[in-house]
């Protein structure tokens, strides 16, 4: 059987990838996608811990499903914001949007 | 009518305030209206005090027309008014001089409304002191009088002149004078306030009539802060004395006076010299001697010494002036010295079984207060008249004005002579009584104060010499007009009273004498 650590390393790598993407990419859509990556990394963790932990418990699966739902909602709202942003400011580059600056 | 006679003193006291409130609603641009309102308004207390005068029972002793109402129950201070012969004469003086001062201020063009209102408030402040029979009320009115006078000097005082303080610091003269007047007087009243509070704390009352009985016999076993009763009383005594001595003023507390009198507007000087100075002397008579008979007798010698110095140095300083108004101002120091000398003599004599000397000295002192009120107000007014025309007070710039202003000249000589104490005019009677009363008590001081009386002559003559006599200063031909009808209306009542009191002083002295005899006789 594949040891748990492999799943965890995969999830960590995926999370780091997502984190990097979120911090480094300029395109707002790409940032959104990176966030999804990070969420999925968490899901992997959840599922892996369920499988290697107490399989009778379904809490992890429920959590994973809630994460799916949240991320779906997030993508819906996030994309709507990006489109609105593009309509207003003709850009989807995150750096150019600094309205909350001091 | 009964309501009015029952509350006559309250009506006298507050009618000026009422008129002042009324004037608040008059337009500030209608100067004539404001002036006449103030004048007629100030005649109300005069009429009421004449009613008071005629209803006053000259044979009864003690206070009359007493009124008492709850005022500050927690500390037993009440609104308690009353008059006796001494305060009656002072009330009459105040209500007489205020309309005259207001009439004398008809020439004021600048901010007439606040000016007149301040004057009326001032009248209430002064009357309150003379009418109060409660220490706290007394003190309140004593201080209230300061405020309008401060503004009158500060705002309407003579615009010219600077006073060098130290180094290169100079301030406008009227600022200096008003500030000195205010700070000096208030500083001295601090002790008075503390002493009053101490008396109130010890005896539990502020009512004068009660205190007359209680305070002077306050038990000797009493201790406050570990001090014996006699020490406490001495401290309180000196607190009272300093406050009143400064107001009188007694040498060496007098230097605020020439400044304030000189810089004040003419009417302000009239009231200042005519009435405000009497508050101090009245304080001695009403509070110091009855409350502290023992201490007063002990320290009477010191007080007499200061009075003598006031008489002498007042006369000398007056003679040394070249500013006409300042000369007249110093004459007040000189004349009020006689008041204090009389009071000191009376204080001593009353305690040492010489009631006949005490009565005469005190009669003289009170009469001198009244007389000085008339003559000093008259003198300041006459200085104001000539200042209005020449815009200078420098005696050296006048000269030989008699042919230009014969009527004014005659009036000036008349008033000067009243001030000098010429027999046949008012000042003589009171000065003689004071000298007569003080001679057996303070022989040496009385004898020395004759030096002051001699120089009274010198400075009065100096004033007349420099203004009226001598070669005519041709500069003034065509610039100096004769005294006008309004000004005559101001000075005429004063002159009539001066003559009347000189020839027949008994009408006023009788009332004073009755009270004084009841106190000392």
């Amino acid at each position: 059987m594949i040891p748990l650590s492999w799943y965890l390393i995969l999830a960590a790598a995926l999370f780091c990838l997502g984190l990097y993407g979120m911090l480094a990419r300029k395109n707002a859509v790409a940032i959104l996608m990176s966030v999804e990556l990070m969420l999925n990394a968490v899901n992997i963790n959840l599922v892996a811990f369920w499988r290697y932990g107490d399989p009778n418990q379904v809490v992890a699966q429920v959590f994973a499903i809630i994460v799916f739902a949240v991320s779906a909602a997030e993508v819906a709202v996030g994309l709507a914001l990006v489109i609105s942003l593009y309509r207003n400011r003709r850009t989807v580059i995150a750096e150019n949007v600094d309205l909350l600056r001091w | 009518m009964d309501f009015i006679t029952d509350h006559l003193l309250t009506f006298i006291l507050f009618s000026p305030v009422f008129v002042a409130l009324l004037m608040l609603f008059l337009p500030g641009t209608e100067k004539q209206l404001l002036r006449w309102t103030a004048l007629i308004g100030s005649l109300i207390p005069l009429l009421l005090s004449l009613v008071l005068w005629f209803q006053f029972d000259g044979r009864a002793t003690g206070f009359q027309f007493e009124e008492q109402a709850v005022w500050y129950e927690a500390i037993n201070a009440s609104y308690h008014l009353g008059v006796d012969g001494i305060s009656l004469s002072m009330v009459l003086l105040t209500t007489l001089l205020t309309p005259l001062a207001i009439l004398a201020s008809f020439g004021i063009e600048d901010r007439v409304k606040p000016y007149m209102i301040l004057f009326l408030l001032l009248e209430t402040g002064m009357l309150g002191v003379f009418l109060a029979l409660d220490l706290l009320i007394f003190f309140v009115f004593y201080e209230v009088g300061l405020v309008p006078m401060y503004f009158l000097i500060n705002q309407w005082g003579s615009p010219k002149g600077e006073r060098k303080l130290w180094g290169n610091v100079t301030v406008p003269a009227r600022t200096y004078a008003s500030f000195k007047f205010m700070i000096y007087t208030m500083g001295a009243s601090l002790g008075l306030l503390l002493a009053i509070q101490m008396i109130g704390a010890i005896t539990g009352t502020f009512d004068l009539l009660e205190l007359y009985d209680v305070w002077r016999v306050t038990s000797t076993s009493l201790t406050v802060f570990g001090l014996s009763a006699s020490t406490v009383k001495s401290i309180a005594f000196w607190a009272f004395v300093v406050a009143f001595a400064l107001k009188v003023p007694v040498w060496p507390f007098h230097t605020w006076l020439p400044d304030a009198h000189t810089e004040a507007p003419t009417a302000g000087s009239m009231i200042l010299a005519g009435v405000l100075l009497k508050l101090g002397a009245y304080g001695f008579i009403r509070l110091v001697i009855p409350l502290f008979p023992h201490e007063a007798a002990i320290f009477a010698g010191a007080l007499a010494l200061l009075a003598m110095l006031a008489i002498i140095f007042g006369a000398f300083a007056s003679y040394g002036q070249n500013d006409f108004k300042r000369l007249v101002a110093y004459s007040s120091v000189n004349h009020m010295g006689f008041v204090v000398l009389g009071i000191a003599a009376a204080a001593w004599a009353a305690r040492n079984a010489h009631p006949e000397h005490a009565v005469i000295a005190m009669n003289g002192a009170v009469l001198q207060m009244f007389n000085h009120g008339l003559s000093a107000a008259g003198m300041f007014f006459l200085v104001g008249v000539i200042y209005d025309r020449t815009h200078t007070r420098d005696l050296r710039k006048y000269g030989g004005l008699f042919p230009l202003v014969p009527v004014y000249g005659g009036i000036l000589i008349f008033t000067s002579m009243a001030s000098l104490g010429l027999p046949g005019l008012n000042g003589f009677v009171s000065e003689f009584l004071v000298v007569r009363g003080a001679w057996p008590i303070f022989t040496f001081y009385t004898a020395l104060s004759m030096l002051g009386l001699l120089f009274t002559g010198a400075y009065i003559i100096k004033g007349i010499r420099s203004t009226l006599h001598g070669p005519l200063n041709r500069e003034w031909i065509g610039h100096l007009s004769e005294i006008n009808g309004r000004e005559l209306a101001v000075i005429a009542p004063l002159m009539v009273l001066m003559l009347w009191l000189g020839i027949w002083p008994a009408w006023l002295l009788g009332v004073i004498n009755q009270t004084v005899t009841a106190i000392f006789g």
């Binding site: 979120m22 911090l23 995150a94 949007v97 909350l100 600056r101 001091w102 | 130290w166 000096y184 060496p252 230097t255 020439p258 140095f313 000398f316 300083a317 007056s318 003679y319 040394g320 002036q321 006949e356 000397h357 009565v359 009669n363 030989g400 008699f402 042919p403 014969p406 005659g410 010429l422 027999p423 046949g424 003589f428 009677v429 003689f432 009584l433 000298v435 007569r436 001679w439 057996p440 022989t443 009385t446 004898a447 004759m450 030096l451 009386l453 001699l454 120089f455 002559g457 003559i461 010499r465 006599h469 001598g470 070669p471 005519l472 027949w504 008994a506 002295l509 004498n513 004084v516 005899t517």
Partner: protein, 734 residues
């Protein structure tokens, strides 16, 4: 009318006249002088009626029951101070001479002030008139012009007359003092009548201030007496009980071992020294001659200066209280010394004066000294007698001198040379023929002053003084008598001498200037009073001839002697016995003095030096300059009091010491406030709060930079902090 009522009313007409003129009629000269003279006539009439009733009552009876009436004036405690009127023998005599001289001087003033003459060309108010040019028959000439302040003059002398009447009719020392001071004021106003002249102004002030020195002492004396006796009414203070009390009470403070009576007497007497111009307060009287001549006559000869002597005569019982027969009390010694010295001192100055009025002024001082000295040796009657005769003849002399001046001024106006002083006797001479009435009356007055034997009043009164002095010496062996006799005899000799000098220089010989040549007699309003007064200057003496005088004694009733009945019976006067010694002295000094005066000056020519100058040399210069007393007083008292006033009291004490102290207080308060502000308030509290605010501000300004508004920056930060905290937790949890 009851006599008492009449006495009450007697002083009032002049007062009424004063007020009427001042208030209403001052623009109308005719009306003003009519009112004034009418008032004087009324008072005179009342005075004569009172005098007649007093005489009819006979002085002995009057002395015991004087006309008196009093009212309560000042309430003092349970009692009252009374004032009232009283005419006793002394008062009656004083009233007599006052009424006459006042009335005469009022009339004289009309002429003196050129009533009826045109207004002057360049006359200004406050200056003497300078004359007016009138055109007559085509050519113009200058005539005297009317006084510009004519009405005012009558107002003032009316008030003055009121004061004198008050003084005479008073029954107490306080109203006497009232009249005394009113006269002092009028004296000031009248000496300074020509107030625009600096010299007149200075003289007026000098008179006022000098007499005031005496007055304040007198006030003390009154206060003392009142305190001791409880009253100032004559009837009380001269009662035996009071006198006894005063004589046995020692003076307050035990001053010089005096009794109360002695100290009171001396204090009151100092009032007289001022008012009656005795040494050392005599300096004002000669200067007072700056006033118009009627003023000099009335105030400075007949009435006001006499009032001083009148007062000491009044208080004689007090002065003499405690003394024994033939002995002098200390107060009397003071009187005798001052009086005798003044009499001689002033007479020496008088011989060297050239101003016709100044001679008379010094003569007045000297004669008043006679009276004071007489009183000092107890010669009560003689003093009162001399007071009365002197009032008449000195008023006459002053009016005469005014007439002379007027006449010479006429000459000055004629020649137009205003540099000629019309008062300088050296510019006169030969006026006898030009002004006969003035000459004869002046001669009578002068002889009366010199004491020309038997005829004149001055002889009788002066002789009486000598007789008293001699009696005191010969009978009681008191050396003061001899001293006073010798000094007064010397003074009397000088008096006769300077009187004759004056008459000779003025009237006799040839006119020495063109102006004197053109002098002419003055109008009847001026000469009539001269004639009337000259009658009294002679006749009044006959009513005071001692009864035991050889031949003449007892021919006429000795009215003057009746003055003695004024005194309470306890005060004893010496009963004189006739002696030839004082009579011979009196005759000798008068006649020799007159003779020498005539001999020395009869040959005096214009431009010559005064003959006395040659014989006296430096002494004459000293006399001419009045012993330099004026200069001395000015350099000491006047300068000193100015220094005390301006520098010591005002600059040093008030402005320096007291205000300096106050300013120091203010400065300390100011310094304290400034320092609190500069050291604590501003740097610590205010700046501290500011620094806090500024710090926050700076921090915020710098720290806000991290708020870039870029989401990725924030995320980076979050990452860093999470890592940081992770590490931190890791380390801590270890």
């Amino acid at each position: 009318m009851a006599t008492e009522t009449l006495i009450w009313l007697l002083p009032l007409p002049p007062l009424l006249s004063f007020f009427l003129i001042v208030l209403f009629t001052n623009r109308n000269k005719l009306l003003s002088h009519t009112i004034a003279i009418a008032s004087a006539v009324l008072s005179w009439l009342a005075g004569m009626v009172v005098f007649a009733r007093a005489l009819g009552d006979d002085f002995h009876h009057l002395g015991e029951h004087p006309f008196e009436s009093a009212i309560n004036w000042l309430p003092t405690g349970t009692g009252a101070f009374q004032i009232g009127v009283r005419i006793d023998p002394l008062g009656a005599l004083a009233l007599f001479f006052v009424c006459w001289t006042v009335l005469m001087i009022f009339i004289y003033s009309v002429g003196y002030h050129n009533f009826g003459q045109p207004e002057g060309d360049h006359d200004a108010k406050g200056l003497p008139p300078h004359g007016a040019t009138v055109k007559h028959d085509g050519h113009s000439h200058t005539v005297p012009s009317v006084e510009p302040n004519y009405s005012r003059f009558f107002a003032f002398i009316s008030l003055f007359a009121f004061g004198m009447y008050v003084l005479v009719v008073s029954d107490n020392l306080l109203t006497l003092f009232v009249g005394w001071e009113i006269m002092g004021l009028c004296s000031y106003l009248l000496i300074g009548f020509w107030y625009a002249k600096p010299s007149a102004r200075a003289a007026a002030i000098k008179a006022f201030m000098t007499t005031r020195i005496g007055d304040v002492f007198m006030l003390l004396g009154l206060a003392y007496l009142y305190a001791q006796a409880g009253s100032l009414s004559y009837s009380v203070i001269f009662s035996p009980e009071t006198l006894d009390h005063l004589a046995h009470e020692s003076a307050v403070g035990g001053l010089f071992g005096l009794t109360a009576a002695g100290l009171i007497g001396i204090l009151l007497f100092i009032g007289t020294i001022g008012k009656s111009a005795q040494f050392p307060l005599h300096v004002w009287l000669p200067d007072a001659m700056e006033g118009p001549t009627p003023v000099s006559a009335m105030i400075h000869a007949a009435t006001m200066v006499s009032a001083g002597v009148y007062m000491v005569i009044r208080i004689f019982p007090i002065l003499a209280a405690g003394g024994h027969h033939g002995e002098l009390t200390p107060a009397m010694m003071a009187l005798a010394a001052v009086g005798a010295f003044t009499a001689l001192f002033a007479a020496t100055i008088a011989i060297a004066q050239n101003d016709i009025k100044r001679v008379l002024a010094y003569s007045t001082i000297s004669q008043l000294g006679f009276m004071v000295a007489a009183l000092g040796i107890g010669a009560y009657i003689a003093a009162a007698f001399h007071l009365m005769t002197h009032a008449f003849f000195k008023a006459l002399l002053f009016l005469g001198s005014g007439s002379v001046i007027h006449g010479v001024e006429h000459g000055v106006l004629h020649t137009g040379d205003h540099s000629v002083d019309p008062q300088d006797m050296l510019n006169m001479g030969g006026l006898r023929s030009k002004m006969p009435v003035t000459f004869w009356t002046f001669l009578i007055g002068g002889f009366a002053l010199a004491g020309f034997p038997l005829v004149t009043a001055g002889f009788w009164s002066k002789d009486e003084i000598f007789a008293d002095a001699w009696f005191l010496y010969s009978h009681d062996g008191n050396g003061w008598g001899l001293f006073v006799l010798i000094v007064l005899a010397l003074a009397a000799f000088l008096t006769a001498f300077y009187t004759m000098r004056q008459i000779t220089l003025t009237f006799l010989g040839e006119a020495r200037t063109e102006e004197a040549r053109h002098a002419h007699e003055t109008p009847w309003t001026m000469t009539f009073p001269l004639v009337v007064l000259s009658v009294f200057a002679v006749g009044i003496g006959w009513f005071g001839i001692p009864d035991d005088f050889p031949v003449l004694g007892g021919l006429l009733p000795n009215l003057v002697h009746g003055v003695a009945y004024t005194l309470p019976e306890e005060v004893e006067l010496a009963e004189l016995v006739f002696s030839a010694v004082p009579l011979i002295v009196s005759l000798a000094v008068a006649l020799l003095g007159l003779l020498f005066g005539w001999l020395v000056y009869r040959g005096y020519r214009a431009g010559q030096a005064d003959p006395l100058k040659k014989s006296l040399g430096g002494l004459h210069t000293l006399l001419e300059n009045k012993y330099y007393l004026d200069e001395l007083y000015h350099a000491t008292f006047v300068r000193f009091s100015e220094w005390v006033s301006e520098t010591l009291t005002y600059r040093w004490l008030d402005q320096g010491l007291i205000d300096g102290f106050l300013h120091t207080l203010a400065r300390i308060a100011n310094w304290l406030g400034t320092n609190l502000r500069d050291r604590i308030e501003m740097p610590v509290i205010s700046d501290g709060a500011d620094a806090l605010g500024d710090g926050v501000k700076i921090f915020g300004r710098n720290f806000r930079l991290i708020q870039s508004g870029r989401i990725q920056n924030y995320m980076n930060l979050v990452l860093v902090i999470v890592v940081l905290f992770g590490v931190l937790f890791y380390l801590i949890l270890q």
